[in-house]
Symmetry: C2
Subunit: 187 residues, 2 copies
């Protein structure tokens, strides 16, 4: 069951079996049903999650209660409310299941301990944080400079499987367009 | 002249004088005049930059030639086109001086060598990449969920000095509003 994480880390750094045993000892597994919350806005954030199977949405509810989608996370993705995780503050976002989902979880304490015990894992997390930063920059650029049709096509090109797995209403919210507008784009 | 970088790194990890000498041996300094380019869209990206003094804008020119502002970078900020820097590909963005600017520069080769020679510096870069990712996520949320007035107030609150240093036209572009709209917000 842990081989997904091993393969995923070994795309960045080589690992001996002993090193991987050490890594996995810092994680626990959890299963969530569709619609369950891993993180709720305003509550403490205990974990960073690695998705083994399933699909999550990272969302923000504004003052009027409207839901905004910051990102989707599927197999091989890391997700949490990073600000709250690192600063031990309350979540400003929620993380909710769109499908039954199985994750590996690591607490901040275990994350720190793992980085101290196995310094080479820090290079792996640096690569992931950099990719996250680059992906967020791409999204900002696309919100600033692309039309709704272009944003739709970029998303379809990068993550075709999302279109089978995510309800149209949520895709529209992610793209920042109305459901009706998305329907016109997809026909 | 290098004490800004030492102080900046020591906010995250402690350093001996020997360790800092090792770090600084991987950097060179460069000075640029106002309006000069550090990175030009479509050209190779050779460096990541640490701003000692001055102010930069990271920009994207769309197909119609319109300029979009991804971020500003001032003293103590790290900036480059990260995707191009890490993948050795051509820049999709430009980095240009808004003031006369002095930077420390590191090449990808020297960055890799430094991380191998002094593994604890990787923790520092991880902290910076994570902060970059969090800041980008905040900007996405603000583009998706805040009004122009709210975005203006958030920027004023977080970076009050930008309002003295950056022309109104560029602030408007960063906020995704017209210059006229910004004028109405600021009066």
């Amino acid at each position: 069951m842990y081989h997904e994480l091993k393969r995923h880390i070994e795309e960045v750094i080589p690992l001996t079996d002993d090193e991987f045993s050490l890594i996995i000892a810092h994680f626990t597994t959890q299963k969530f049903k569709k619609n369950e919350f891993l993180i709720r806005q305003d509550e403490r954030v205990k974990h960073t999650y690695f998705v083994i199977s399933g699909l999550l949405k990272l969302i923000y509810h504004d003052m009027s209660g409207k839901e905004h989608i910051l990102s989707f996370a599927m197999e091989d993705w890391w997700e949490t409310d990073y600000y709250a995780f690192y600063s031990a503050s309350r979540a400003t976002m929620s993380l909710q299941c769109l499908e039954n989902t199985e994750v590996l979880c690591i607490t901040f304490e275990d994350f720190r301990r793992l980085c101290e015990t196995l310094p080479k894992i820090v290079s792996f997390f640096l690569q992931k944080a950099t990719s996250g930063h680059i992906a967020s920059q791409q999204r900002i650029l696309s919100l600033l400079s692309s039309s709704a049709k272009e944003r739709y096509e970029q998303l379809l090109h990068r993550y075709p499987s999302l279109f089978q797995r995510v309800p149209k209403k949520l895709l529209a919210s992610y793209l920042g367009v109305s459901r009706e507008r998305l329907s016109r784009l997809t026909t």
